[in-house]
Homo-oligomer: 249 residues x 2
């Protein structure tokens, strides 16, 4: 082999602007728990002084952290404080990503068929009395909403959320949230177009809640499976094309 064989290669040099370095520096301190939850950040001018950059630069960094949910302004306060990202905010980012990637209803539905039954199963094992109260409350609120579509959709999603919370597994709760967000718009259409949808959903919710109460693992799982499968039937009856791309809110 001659020395010429391998062409000279260099790694791409990465220039990180100051605002991203500042954001990374603050973010790392938050992630490492060096800055604790709820703790207030110094004012922008002070941060600018400490980092040796301009206040504008600090502000750009703060916007980045803010949209990641690592810092937020507590209502009625000017100073930023460290926060744990809220599930719905994080999920919204995921939802937007999925929308941008042309995800179809079918994909969302398929994901639901995969994760919801095991969630119900886990919830049957771990639910507390309090969890159960929340779940039945959501089911009852859905059943009571015979008129308002908007609220019915909301409580249908809320039912899933309360079951997710009952697993006491935050990963699962967060994983299902984007799916629910993407489900809602189509559910709105479906409930309006399919008369029998409401009663079928209400029945499934009731059966699931009963199984959870009885700690009936298999029952919870199989009723949840039915519940999800019903959605697909509803889509077909409502003639919603499953290959259609989901839309944001």
């Amino acid at each position: 082999m001659s020395v010429e064989d391998a062409p000279v290669r260099f790694d791409q040099i990465l220039m990180e602007p100051a605002y991203r370095k500042v954001a990374a520096a603050i973010g790392e301190r938050i992630l490492s728990r060096s800055l604790r939850e709820g703790e207030r950040l110094p004012p922008e001018t002070e941060l600018a002084r400490q980092f040796g950059v301009n206040r504008s630069t600090v502000r750009e960094a703060l916007r980045e952290l803010e949209s990641g949910g690592l810092v937020k302004r507590r209502p009625g306060s000017k100073l930023m404080s460290v926060s744990r990202p809220q599930h719905d905010a994080i999920a919204e980012g995921v939802s937007r990503a999925l929308v941008m990637h042309d995800v179809t209803f079918l994909e969302v539905w398929e994901a639901l068929t995969i994760i919801e039954p095991p969630i119900a199963e886990a919830a049957a094992r771990t639910r507390t009395a309090e969890d159960l109260a929340g779940i039945t409350a959501a089911a009852e609120r859905f059943a009571a909403q015979n008129a308002a579509t908007e609220r019915a959709v909301h409580y249908a999603a809320e039912f899933f959320r309360s079951v997710g919370r009952a697993t006491h597994n935050q990963v699962l709760g967060l994983a299902q949230e984007p799916l629910l967000q993407l489900l809602e718009p189509s559910l709105r259409v479906m409930i309006d177009k399919v008369p029998q949808a409401r009663s079928r959903i209400a029945t499934a919710q009731k059966r699931i809640a009963e199984a959870l109460q009885a700690r009936d693992v298999d029952g919870a799982r199989s009723w949840m499976t039915k519940h999800i499968r019903d959605f697909r039937k509803g889509y077909e009856i409502a003639k919603i094309d499953l290959e259609l791309r989901v839309t944001a809110d």
Copy 2:
């Protein structure tokens, strides 16, 4: 009932700063496909002129969109262009959120036991020849890495990713990504401490790949189940406390 019964209530008035309005305006145009993927945004000065705000305000809005992955700067270009959020970037946000919420290894592992087997099952149905090639390649690369821990961990995660891709369901692929990110650090420790871990992982990967090749739905699922269960055993042997909080990267 006297008229005094219901206390006067007002909804909280929400003041949205200009930078967030600008970000929302641009973001909406992107989500609605009015601005197409890859299209370049006008320069900051022009945006400032159009929105009637200062350039600094536009910049703060851009930072927000940027960290959401909706816009990014293409390498070697100054103008921002519309982009679809990359999976790993989105997943990193989710991972950070989970870390901040004190998620434990047990929760991550439990989530893996729930979503990975169905993913393997789905992959057995939908995988193409190309998918299969990627999966076996990842498995072979893992098996070949008998020395370097870092790479072994990487290819162990890459194996999951390639199986996820084989489902051709983007929702599932994106849902598993944060789990893999959180798994990696602990996997690093585990592989180092448990001598037999490598061979057990390699075997499981091989069996899963074979099942996928044969389109053996049940085999793929059950071997994936074993594969995940093995991780837990590994944790216990390595004496990694499952109640420990996961850490970021």
